[in-house]
Symmetry: C2
Subunit: 303 residues, 2 copies
DNA sequence: CCCGTTATCTGACTAGAGTCAGAGGTCATG
DNA sequence: CATGACCTCTGACTCTAGTCAGATAACGGG
């Protein structure tokens, strides 16, 4: 662990020096950095000021002023939103688009400059390692929260879940044929539905059905393809176990389909052992069970 | 290549956001960031102001003022250097040392916070990837220059070179018994001595002996253990080939000892092919030769 | 139409980070 | 011991980046 921290520290130091500074210098071209960053956040179709503010986490007065400077440079135009005339919508002018393309090019140059002194082999290794770092650092930003299973985010996840099972199961998947897990059953106090979000965007879910007496049941585990390999499934599963423990369950169980290899692997390596079928779920090939012990408990943050 | 740039760009973005900002917030505790950074650079034995300035790349007036604030906070003392009373030497007080230890701890905390949300497996992968990124990014900072073989840096490298051969060769290594490569022979116009430096510190070397007619000879290739695996040997070798080309050599050759496996691998993969012994170097087991062609030439920056 | 709310803008201010042009010691050298 | 080169310090600025307290306009419900 100490070694790990040492590596991370060296990394922080090197990277913020070698990239952080350069990055800022590149982006700030004759214009305050803040203005460039703002320009960067204005997408093709225009954004309202409120969104810009929250995206960059800036004070409203400050943003207003930055927009004014971009406007006087003729890089953007600000117009009222017709449907609500309090709201201003920011749009890039042609000059603004050109400026953004320029920033884009500089950003490419910076990236190329980092790779340039290296040979092909080192370059490939660096790129791969950077990809890994980037993915795993963002994984640290994923937040898992209990949400209403009928909510927008939950429904979005469930649709993806169903679509994925349908494409992966040999004979497709019809939710109606499967054992029920209605919004009612997955809402406290009879259950819990977890949504994992990355910067607000839902990228995974999982649910647990609680039974007054008897084992809790894991349902609806899904992780977006873009977020796989980050240990997110394990985190969701662990959170579900915590919710089950909190509801005084001693045992948690689940069934799964043979086509979901990663999931089966996850369950096995998370301490689940295969047991005889405990229900008649038509899509299941494996049934798993785990006894929730103190070791699970101590790694839970109770809510 | 475009893919690579895209990965690097995403990396730059994510990482500078996630770490750059945090890092600064952590380090700046109730004190301007600049002051903290300065405090950080003062090592146990004291530093002179000039060194601080060049290390951080700051204006002399600015540094002076920052030192003044640290002094009034009783974190440092500034004294004249007895041997040259123009120079001031900065030393940490006990309070300063305590403050630095505190910064140290915060830096550890930050590192731990990045690892904290991840599972063991992801954590290990992140740490490894960070190590790779850090090493390869610094590899990009290595500068290879022609220096005098009798100079301080060159001599330092040569001492390390001899020590290493002595420890790795089965029967030790006596430079006197080996074929000569004197400073005279490795200095322009009869040769060239290259030193690789990382942030000023010598970390590798290599030399070439030129002969009016006939092949050039590679000599004294060495890379510091701390810098291995960065492709530095290959870069030095390539530079030597360029120097040879510049001096109109058509062929370059070298001999090496069987105990230097990495070196043998490097030569083979750099286009050298093994040839019969072309000299009577007592320590050699392999003799290599390469014809310098246009492909080599086009990748050379001529000086 | 009034009133509380929301979205944006303006003015006044602060702190940090750094630049620039000397000033004033100190040293090495002829 | 005069002179130019060095090193550090001081004073006077500048520019970013950001905060805070209203002002102003528009909306939405009663």
């Amino acid at each position: 662990m100490d070694d790990e921290v040492a590596v991370v520290r060296r990394f922080n130091r090197t990277v913020t020096q070698r990239i952080g500074v350069l990055n800022d210098d590149y982006l700030a071209r004759a214009r305050p950095l803040g203005a460039s960053r703002l320009l960067w956040e204005i997408d093709e179709n225009g954004v309202d000021v409120r969104t810009l503010r929250s995206r960059l986490g800036l004070d409203s007065g400050y943003v207003s002023r930055l927009l004014r400077t971009l406007e006087t440079d003729h890089l953007i135009v600000i117009a009222q939103e017709p449907s609500d005339r309090r709201i201003r919508v920011v749009r890039l002018t042609d000059a603004g688009r050109a400026e953004r393309a320029q920033l884009d090019r500089l950003s490419d140059d910076l990236a190329a400059a980092l790779l340039e002194p290296l040979g092909a082999e080192q370059r490939a290794r660096l790129v791969e390692a950077m990809g890994t770092v980037e993915r795993l650092l963002t994984a640290g930003l994923v937040e898992i929260t209990i949400e209403d299973p009928a909510g927008e985010a939950a429904q979005q996840c469930l649709r993806s879940y169903v679509a994925e099972l349908d494409s992966r199961f040999a004979g497709g998947f019809e939710p109606e044929a499967s054992i029920s897990a209605t919004a009612e059953e997955l809402r406290p106090p009879s259950g819990a539905f977890l949504v994992a979000r990355l910067l607000g965007k839902p990228i995974g879910c999982g649910a647990v059905k609680l039974h007054a007496a008897g084992p809790a049941e894991v349902k609806r585990m899904w992780v977006s393809p873009s977020a796989r390999g980050l240990g997110l499934g394990r985190r969701i599963l662990h959170e579900l176990e915590c919710r089950a423990l909190e509801a005084s369950a001693r045992v948690i169980r689940l069934e799964t389909n043979e086509s979901l290899g990663e999931a089966v692997g996850l369950y096995r390596s998370s301490g689940y052992r295969e047991v005889p079928a405990f229900n008649d779920e038509p899509y299941a090939h494996h049934w798993f069970e785990k006894t929730l012990n103190d070791q699970t408990r101590t790694t839970c943050r109770m809510t």
